[in-house]
Symmetry: C2
Subunit: 343 residues, 2 copies
């Protein structure tokens, strides 16, 4: 993939066509049909919604990882019913999304029955955006929170060497008169994918995002990627949240911490082999007015104090635009995907 | 209370004496014995642990609030067993801490049985630090997360007027060879109590903490307190977390949003009348090595990358120091407490 800017003569694809193309890429690189479908929907959805750092930009990383033998693209997740509010999944060294899909019906059933339920995914690889994991729960009227740890690239506040991953937190909640309220934030000052994109484009970063290989502050994305590291967002507070993500996504699932796996024998491996936690709450158990009416009221008040755009609004806008106009990819990117698919 | 600096000739009190003194202050201002005991332990604990913005500094605010009739110091919380993982409490316009205390046995029982449980407190006043609410769960081997919303004083990122409260998030987790890992962070750039303390001391704040009554950035704590507002920590990310706290602590409990209550008819009222959510997880349900061993390993690695102090370390250090040397209060502060207690 080269740094050609997006131009108006790129070829638009409809969503289903992009899904099929990506599905074929995954299948051709050794995944099962189920895994191919799940990952293709996820990746195409991110691209459609304008989340480019987690869209087709990720495909070369998926492919090189599959080629390296680091991840099992044929893994069959094993769901364990542990307690009335607790589900575990052993992702069997496969991707996290098929593990979530396998456990989802049981998780939803428990959340509706117990009022809250937790899904602890371990032995899993997460290489995608986190919001697609929580958003569907909000469409089902549930509130969902998820955390996933990744790979050592963030220096804890007050430390001098990296330890944490970018460790995102995603949240989704239904509302009465609109799309769900959804956010997905890396606890690093910048997402790793955005550093990669800036490096590819030759752009400099804002101050406070990262350090170079000597631990000195830098605005050069290449210096961060080549032996440097990221900083947490918001100083000691973001750092505390990143630590919490390690504890919830790894210690509480039985997955690896961001610093525990060793992929040095798998050149090309890009997918962190860690864990993921989801907490799902049924707001119909709450007292008072319906949750969706209440969240709608909060949104109304947020607009009332001058907020133009809610978290998630840009994605929904881009989603509608993609549905109307198709998804535009750079010609080189599309050509590369077709080559990877053998089309 | 005046701005006299702490001097070496202040009088040390042992913890139990401070608790009794505060208990008498609460009792004398109309609380029940149960409420007095709970709040006195909470407030004395914060003072003992060096959390001065939530220690005896808060007593005049409690007293003026009780005098104003805004809060019911005699309230008897009503615990509702909603589902196998869901407990609700109507705090009956009383304080949140007695409501938590009343529901705690049922909450712990459910967390151990279901693997996870949620406590939704509504119709409650929270005027204290949040970490004392979660820390005890970690001593019982459980992982706990809590959020509480407060009162409109934070401008959402991208808005121009305040809406959110300081909306803290607190987390506690056990570890094998040491005190629990505990943090408590306001999603505002600075806690309201710390602005009050800076104003009292005549100190200026760091940039990025707040705005004046015209919405302009200011470093003057008085300008923030007199018609100004705070900013969220970490820009749009802290703002998203603050929004999440509103949804979890108010919409999901049936409590007020930070902007919903009107205390204008209760001059002297200082305690936000909102809601609080706690999520408690039993890590013994997790796969693999024990959680406390895993969290201990994370701590070991954090020290390994140069981290000197964990979240909570300063509190534990101060707690030990207070146990050995007693708790030192400014003479005027102690005199004022004795007067309020009628001693």
């Amino acid at each position: 993939m080269t740094a050609t800017p997006v131009s108006s003569n790129t070829e638009p694809l409809d969503f289903d066509s992009l899904v099929l193309l990506l599905e074929q890429v995954f299948l051709r690189h050794g995944t099962s049909a189920d895994v191919a479908r799940t990952l293709a929907l996820n990746c195409a959805g991110a691209e459609r919604d304008g989340a480019h750092s987690h869209g087709v930009f990720r495909i070369p990383g998926y492919v090189s990882t599959l080629k390296s033998g680091w991840v099992n693209g044929q893994a069959v997740p094993v769901v364990e019913d542990v307690a009335s509010g607790f589900v575990r999944v052993d992702a069997a060294n496969g991707f996290a999304q098929p593990a979530l899909a396998a456990a989802r019906p049981l998780l939803v059933e428990k959340a509706r029955s117990a009022g809250i339920a937790v899904l602890a995914i371990r032995n899993s690889h997460h290489f995608a955006a986190l919001w697609p994991d929580v958003e569907p729960f909000a469409y089902d009227g549930l509130v969902a929170l998820s955390v996933v740890n990744s790979m050592t690239c963030v220096v804890p506040h007050g430390a001098d060497r990296p330890l944490f991953g970018t460790n995102p937190i995603a949240f989704a909640a239904p509302r009465a008169d609109g799309e769900p309220i959804v956010f997905d934030l890396a606890t690093s000052a910048i997402a790793h994918g955005d550093v990669q994109i800036a490096a590819r484009k030759g752009e400099r970063l804002s101050p406070g995002m990262g350090v170079d290989s000597l631990g000195q502050p830098t605005q050069d994305p290449k210096a961060i990627l080549e032996g440097g590291a990221l900083l947490p967002f918001g100083g000691h507070k973001g750092s505390a949240l990143s630590m919490m993500v390690e504890l919830l996504a790894a210690a509480l699932t039985g997955g690896n911490f961001s610093f525990e796996f060793d992929w040095s024998n798998h050149p090309g491996a890009k997918t962190p082999w860690t864990g993921q936690l989801l907490i799902v709450i049924d707001p119909s158990k709450a007292a008072g007015q319906s949750f969706a009416e209440r969240s709608q009221e909060l949104v109304r008040q947020m607009h009332g104090v001058g907020l133009k755009r809610l978290p998630g609004d840009r994605r929904h806008h881009q989603r509608a635009k993609s549905a109307a106009e198709g998804i535009r990819l750079e010609p080189e990117v599309l050509a590369n995907l077709r080559e990877l698919a053998g089309f």
